[in-house]
């Protein structure tokens, strides 16, 4: 099986996600981009699992999905609460961590 197209697609998705995280300000979109990166990794995992003929990659992909789901729960909650307090979902507005 030729893995290159799959890996290429995975790399493309990952890059799109990464660029999105870096350049977009809207927290929801940044969040989506993170999901996109995770799923790009999942694609790579599944591809290699198929290519190598064992299930390790697929299991890892399941773990990633579980983590992503948990992350969605926590992340969205944070985003919602930030939005409630400051009426904005821009990540640049939430910069209170700096001194």
């Amino acid at each position: 099986m030729n893995v290159e197209p799959f890996i290429g697609l995975s790399a493309l998705l990952f890059t799109i996600g990464a660029v999105g995280v870096l350049v977009r300000r809207n927290a929801i979109i940044v969040f989506m981009c993170v999901e996109l990166m995770l799923n790009a990794c999942n694609l790579a995992f599944v591809t290699f699992a198929r290519a190598n003929g064992n299930l390790d990659g697929q299991i890892a992909a399941f773990f990633v999905m579980v983590v992503a789901a948990a992350e969605v729960v926590v992340g969205l909650a944070i985003i919602v609460s930030i939005y409630r307090t400051r009426r904005s979902a821009s990540v640049d507005d939430a910069s209170l961590l700096k001194l």
Binding site: V21, L22, V23, V91, A94, S95, L96, L97, K98, L99
Partner: protein
């Protein structure tokens, strides 16, 4: 100077002394020290037990009784010693081990011999008289009890000093008398000058103690013992250099305690203390401890001509130095203090002559103890009647108002100038003779000193008791109470009759086993020397009479005076020299070290801390708080990692 061979011969005599263990009355000798020590403890600890308690009312009696009891024990022991065989007159009594570590073994021991016996009598005898006198002198002082406590402490410490069988025990007494002196000079603490004088006395003495302490260390390093007798035996095997070093170190100690040049500056200031203290500590006993130390260490000095010469030079310089100061002072106590320095200079000079002079040093020390205590107490009696004024320019014509004080003071006066027949005549005559026999210049210094002594003492006498009344208004001179005049009378009698100790050269023979004996032939018959001394003394008296007796004494000290008087009034600039050489550079050093410590050493520590802090503040700028910056940093980091992995794999 004597040839060395006779000296070594004399030194070997010390080896003949074999101390015997104490028994009978001698085993109770420690009581001499213990009685005043316990009394001092009671008087001082009772200090907090509320005012006007029984101790406050009777404390001075307890203190006086303690001194007298100590005298009685000393007297009994002395009589017992007279009854001993000559060979058995050095008695030791080991009380307990003070400290023992490895080869260092110091025993608290009593060493009672002919020399110590004389000192015990002098200290407790004169001490008792001064205690009695103080009952009257300090009658109105609210802290009288404490005063007597300090006096008792002094007596105890001074007795430890002279009874010590070990140099380190001697050092205990040595510092003990220093402490008592400190406490008593500064007894009127609310006077700043008294507090400063007390501190000065202690610190200058400590410089001397440096010498004594190092001397003791050197003894231990050389001989493995600090026992006085054993050191005396072992020093014969030591090299010349060791003997000289020991002699010079002990001399430094002696200079501090006995106010000899160059450590003389504290004694004049010490007159801030109550007058009985000046009489007891700063005239009769403590300041002579240096002479005692030199004589006690005769075995060391016998071996080192250099050290002996140094002692003679110190003595000669101080005797003239003190006399000079005595001529210029208007303060009666300071004039007497200058005289004390000068007389101790005589003793030092005599002690520096070696076996030929030791006995005469002690003889002069004892007679001086009598007549100087007498005069100081007399001065105290005068001050008592003059509302504590010490300026002799405010005295005059007191002989009719204070007859007893006048007569007793006159006895002391005649004794100190060496009027024939009085105690000082014999003792000073012997010192000058011995000095001439050994070294012409030493003898000349002593001779000149005798003339100057006559001059300044006549001046004191005239300004105080003769001439016109120059009393301040409201001052009504009166004779002191009996409790003060009786000790004066006793001391006056001793001043007159003290010369009896030389009767058929008793004191020389008595001390010979301790100090060795040696006689140098004078180039001229002794009677010639005596005649010259009497002439010089007469010249001094005549000059003083011409200058002070024939014309009126100015009421205030004249300012247009010769450079000599000016120098004398300024203590020959001793304080100025100390200030320029030690105090100012010392203060500068201290201040600059405080600065270096704060900004240099501690600055380096704080500087390091600040450097870390600054670095951290710089790094903090990286934390912008923007999520996307952090994300970019993460990606950057991941990228670097990947590239590094690739680089490693490709390479």
């Amino acid at each position: 100077m004597t040839s060395l061979s006779t000296v070594v011969l004399a030194a070997s005599e010390h080896a003949d002394v074999v101390p015997v263990a104490a028994d009978g009355v001698f085993s109770w000798l420690w009581l001499v020290v213990a009685i005043p020590a316990v009394s001092a403890a009671i008087l001082l600890i009772g200090d907090g037990a509320g005012d006007h308690g029984p101790l406050d009312r009777f404390g001075h009696l307890l203190g006086t009784l303690a001194a007298i009891a100590s005298f009685v024990v000393g007297l009994v022991a002395f009589i017992a010693l007279l009854g001993q065989d000559v060979a058995e007159r050095a008695i030791t009594h080991d009380l307990w081990t003070w400290m023992q570590v490895g080869g260092f073994d110091v025993t608290m021991s009593v060493y009672y011999d002919q020399l110590a016996a004389l000192f015990v009598l002098l200290i407790t005898g004169v001490g008792s008289l001064i205690h009695v006198y103080s009952i009257g002198y300090m009658a109105d002082d609210p802290r009288k009890r404490r005063f007597f406590g300090f006096l008792n402490l002094f007596i105890a410490a001074m007795l430890v000093l002279v009874l010590a069988g070990d140099y380190l025990v001697l050092f205990l007494g040595w510092e003990g008398v220093g402490l008592a002196s400190y406490l008593l000079i500064g007894f009127w603490q609310e006077k700043r000058s008294a507090a400063v004088a007390a501190k000065k006395a202690f610190v200058v003495n400590r410089v001397g103690d440096l010498g004594l302490a190092l001397g003791i260390m050197l003894m231990f390093a050389q001989f493995g013992t600090t026992n006085i007798h054993d050191v005396g035996l072992n020093v014969a095997n030591a090299s010349q250099g060791v003997a000289t070093a020991l002699g010079l170190l002990l001399l430094l100690g002696a200079c501090g305690k006995s106010a000899q040049v160059p450590l003389q500056s504290w004694l004049l200031d010490a007159m801030e203390g109550p007058t009985p203290v000046s009489a007891l500590i700063h005239a009769a006993t403590m300041v002579t401890a240096g002479v005692y130390l030199v004589v006690r260490s005769a075995a060391i000095y016998d071996l080192s001509e250099v050290a002996r010469t140094a002692v003679v030079v110190v003595g000669a310089v101080t005797l003239l130095y003190g006399a000079w100061i005595g001529c210029a002072k208007d303060d009666i106590k300071k004039a007497l203090a200058g005289s004390t320095m000068s007389q101790i200079g005589y003793m030092m000079l005599a002690a520096g002559l070696g076996p030929a002079g030791y006995a005469f040093a002690i003889f002069h020390l004892i007679t001086h103890g009598f007549f100087k205590a007498n005069m100081f107490l007399g001065a105290g009696s005068v001050m008592h009647g003059m509302n504590d004024d010490v300026d002799m320019r405010h005295y005059g014509a007191l002989r009719t108002m204070m007859p007893v004080t006048f007569v007793t003071f006159a006895m002391g006066y005649l004794a100190i100038i060496g009027f024939p027949g009085f105690s000082g005549f014999f003792s000073k005559d012997k010192v000058i003779e011995a000095a001439f026999a050994t070294n012409f210049w030493a003898g000349l210094a002593a001779l000149v000193g005798a003339g100057v002594t006559a001059f300044y003492m006549t001046r004191v006498m005239i300004m105080t008791f003769f001439g016109e009344k120059r009393w301040r208004e409201g001052v009504h001179p009166h004779e002191s109470p009996k409790i003060m005049t009786v000790p004066l009378i006793v001391l006056a009698a001793l001043s007159v009759g003290g010369g009896a100790l030389l009767f058929s050269s008793w004191i020389v023979d008595w001390l010979a086993p301790v100090t060795g004996e040696e006689h140098h032939e004078l180039p001229v018959p002794p009677i010639v020397i005596t005649a010259i001394i009497v002439l010089v003394v007469a010249a001094g008296i005549a000059l003083a009479y011409v200058l002070f007796g024939r014309r009126a004494i100015p009421d205030t000290a004249p300012q247009k005076v010769s450079v000599f008087t000016r120098a004398g009034r300024a203590d020959l600039y001793g304080d100025a020299v100390n200030e320029a050489l030690f105090m100012r550079p010392g203060q500068y050093l201290t201040r600059s070290l405080v600065y270096v410590d704060g900004s240099g050493i501690d600055g380096a520590v704080n500087g390091t801390a600040e450097l870390v802090g600054d670095g951290a503040r710089g790094l903090r700028r990286l934390q912008t708080g923007f999520v996307r910056t952090y994300a970019a940093e993460i990606f950057g980091g991941a990228l670097v990692l990947v590239l590094a992995l690739l680089a490693v794999n490709l390479a």
